[in-house]
């Protein structure tokens, strides 16, 4: 195991001193996940059942106008739906039929619950069952909630993937061990990982979600699941209920994180150590060289992260350990202590981790620290820039391909660019 990161069995380092806050959250709701989910599952359509606010949120977050007809839409509830003048289920059926009539290529339709649909207790899971029966076998209809009263930003992906789990085929108890990578990854990243696993001698690796609705992987007692994202609590729980075992691992950010993530999978499958070393040696060396070039840009710089995507802890770990950045406060909307145990064990001492948010207080703390770089959402970035702080929009960390060896330096560059820009501008 030469050169592999030593992963201590999670002695709770910073975890005890987590600052838990409750207040105004400057974070998207789970509906926003549709922006990347619809691109990943290429024959799925996402129909939000909600209000004009929901429609406006998604188009504002996505900049959807570039599509001739996007694969998501909102069934906007109106006064007559709420006043009970029309049956909400009849209305929903009418909207879905119209939609599917126009889009015959759609194979999977998600009815996505929102704050208003949750508050009026519109039962979308029953509606999905009913519609699924009606549309069978051409279209499968599923439902999940992306509402802001229940989900935070990336939890929308968790809810969506969790909705897929019951539909996954059963893998027999006698089936050989198989590896299931869980969480949306950019196609380019997914393909790289596929090649790496194949090089280790693991040709049969499945990914959830699949690129096409009909390609759902199977799951059973011999399924080992490797989480590619740190925000998949419900999905992982449901997969465990179907017999899968979670492979504990840090997340594949940076050369170190990627190596540890792949190695955890290799050990679980198991893969021969020399086959593992042979598979990762070249890309790992490539990543380390590329990161070494980026390190001077970031080393010694202090960073503050506002909560956004739950990627904050793994990203902070990467920036501290591989880039030499000084962590100040690392905020996360929700801290899954079990899935992040390996990450927390690798965090440097003295970091303030905060969970939840009271944005005004957090801004006070950020202004007091005046970090070299502040990672925050789009609502805060320009106001902080105008106060003289250098910022990085967190949403780009989620939308860009960042995982894996060949993206490690790109990830570092995302943090380095605002700092570099600051030094270049003379205005």
């Amino acid at each position: 195991m030469d050169g592999l990161p030593a992963i201590a069995p999670a002695p709770s380092t910073g975890c005890d001193s987590v600052l838990v806050e409750r207040g105004q959250r400057e974070v998207f709701c789970g509906l926003t996940g549709i922006v990347w989910l619809h691109r990943k599952i290429q024959d799925a359509f996402f129909l939000v059942v909600g209000s004009r606010t929901c429609a406006h949120l998604i188009q504002s977050a996505a900049g959807v106008m570039i599509f001739a007809e996007p694969r998501f839409a909102t069934a906007i509830m109106e006064e007559k739906d709420l006043a009970g003048l029309v049956d909400a289920n009849d209305e929903l059926d009418r909207v879905v039929l119209r939609l599917l009539g126009r889009r015959p290529e759609i194979k999977l339709l998600f009815l996505v619950g929102s704050c208003p649909s949750e508050v009026i207790k519109l039962d979308l899971s029953r509606a999905a069952q009913r519609l699924s029966r009606q549309m069978a076998p051409n279209v499968r209809v599923l439902s999940y909630s992306g509402s802001g009263i229940e989900t935070t930003f990336t939890q929308g992906e968790d809810a969506c993937l969790a909705a897929l789990v019951p539909d996954m085929p059963i893998a027999a108890a006698t089936a050989p061990a198989d590896l299931l990578v869980v969480g949306c990854l950019a196609d380019v990243v997914e393909d790289q990982f596929r090649r790496l696993f194949a090089a280790m001698g693991l040709p049969k690796v499945s990914f959830l979600p699949p690129r096409h609705a009909g390609d759902l992987p199977s799951v059973g007692p011999n399924t080992k699941m490797l989480l590619a994202q740190p925000f998949l609590a419900d999905t992982a729980r449901l997969l465990e209920e179907r017999g899968a075992t979670r492979i504990p691992a840090p997340f594949p950010f940076g050369a170190e994180g990627t190596t540890a993530w792949l190695h955890a999978a290799a050990q679980a499958m198991p893969v021969d150590q020399s086959a593992f070393n042979a598979a990762v040696a070249a890309p790992r060396a490539r990543a380390e060289t590329a990161l070494a070039r980026m390190r001077p840009e970031l080393e010694g710089k202090s960073i503050f992260m506002f909560p956004d995507s739950q990627l904050e802890i793994p990203l902070a770990r990467f920036l501290a350990r591989e880039m030499g950045m000084q962590l100040t406060e690392i905020g996360t909307p929700y801290l899954h202590r079990q899935h992040l145990a390996e990450e927390l064990a690798m965090m440097p001492a003295g970091v303030r981790i905060s969970e939840g948010q009271d944005v005004e207080r957090q801004l006070d703390r950020c202004r007091a620290i005046r970090p070299d770089l502040t990672v925050c959402g789009l609502g805060l970035a320009n106001p902080l820039e105008s106060e003289g702080l250098t910022t990085k929009w967190s949403i780009e960390l989620l939308f860009s391909p960042t995982q894996g060896y060949d993206q490690a330096a790109d990830l570092a560059e995302l943090f380095a660019r605002p700092l570099l820009r600051r030094t270049k501008l003379r205005v």
Binding site: Q24, T53, E78, E118, G148, G379
Partner: protein, 518 residues
Amino acid sequence: MQLTLWTYEGPPHIGAMRVATAMDGLHYVLHAPQGDTYADLLFTMIERRQKRPPVTYTTFQARDLGGDTADLFKQSARDAYDRFKPQALLVGASCTAELIQDDPGGLARALNLPCPVVAVELPAYQKKENWGAAETFYRLVREFARRPETTPASISCNILGPTALGFRHRDDVREITSLLHRMGISINVTAPMGSSPTDLMRLGDAAFNVVLYPEIAGPAAQFLEKHLGQKATKTVPIGFGATCDFIREVAALAGIDPTPFLEDETAHSPWYARSVDSTYLTGKRVYVFGDATHVIAAARIARDEMGFTVVGMGTYSREQVREVRAAAQAYGLEALITDDYLDVEEAVAALSVELVLGTQMERHISKRLGVPCAMISAPMHVQDFPARYAPQMGFEGANVIFDSWVHPLMMGLEEHLLQMFREDSEFSEAPSHLGHAAAPIRAAEPVLDVQASADVAVLDAPASNEPVWTAEAEKELGKIPFFVRGKARRNTEKYARDAGIARISIETLYEAKAKVGR
């Protein structure tokens, strides 16, 4: 339920935010779940504002619903007052909070905060953004405007309507302020933009009101007319003619002679339109879509100041439908009233349009259809906030509009020159600003590369009753200037269908040209 792929207007509380964000000394406490804070980025990213909107979101969660969301609201309102010390607090609910019926107004008043509380009820399931802005501004004016102690000087006015996230509001205000100053009229208060609740208390000190954006200031101006006797302008000064009308209207209200102000040496657009190089603009078929104010103004400019033919117009502004319908009638048109962009796309595609004047959505529609396009209206895109001074109103606004409408067409002409010279040996394939996906280029391709053209799909579909182009006719079509080629193709095909001609030859092409004409 209404199936919506994209919406021209946000919910009404966004309108309230546009008013609050434009003002000083006002803080908006919005009862809303997590996620509704997305609205902040409209202001900080699209408009590039340097401050967060003055909005506190209560951020209630599912687990609060059984408990006490009302307490959460009260706590948020109290904290917001303590932190921001506003002159007045605006309170309301977003769509979800409307359903839980916590009565933000009553709750906030019960706190006995040392500042006035203005409650706005914005029915999120009936109304939209502009209505929300108008209602909010009306509520604020109603709360704060006072009858003046002395009769106002006849030579002063208020400017009403500009908000945050408005189409060129910042520059329009500057342009109209300077026009009014040239006329010797003093500006008492400009609101909402740049005013505070204290300023609104002085609204009555002006003799009359200048309403720049009726969508937003209409109800407030009506209230001020009824209760304080302030007359309001009806003309929106967008375009040269409308600016002259506006000057006459303002002069009448102020009791002065408009004549000296109608001649302005900076008004270049009328001469540019008469200049012979503009001849090619004659009769260009334009489609106009946007908010009511800008659509009505743009249609007038298009016909009277550019010499275009308005072939279609419409709006998403439900509150001003009557005005737009009436304006459309004057052009012999039926207005398209919709908030579904697919309806607009269909209309643009069907009408052989040569220029689209619209919103950011029409920009995308036009890109897809390969038609030049210029922006005239919200909803806003980051590109619609130029760094330079670019008003729509006043004489400078007319200049800006002339340039910004003509440039896409001029670029089209350059495209034409590229096409003309592409077979010259000196010609090297330069990247086109329209991109190779745009139709003008694509339409030229058939001669060279039949497979590359989507337009020649008919060649592959002889089974349908669509007429088929012979290779010679297709080649001849390629010699026709690209900007009329699409129309020539459609006219020829229609002619062939009507005449029962299955194969389009060169003869058919010229027969159609003679019979159908331009």
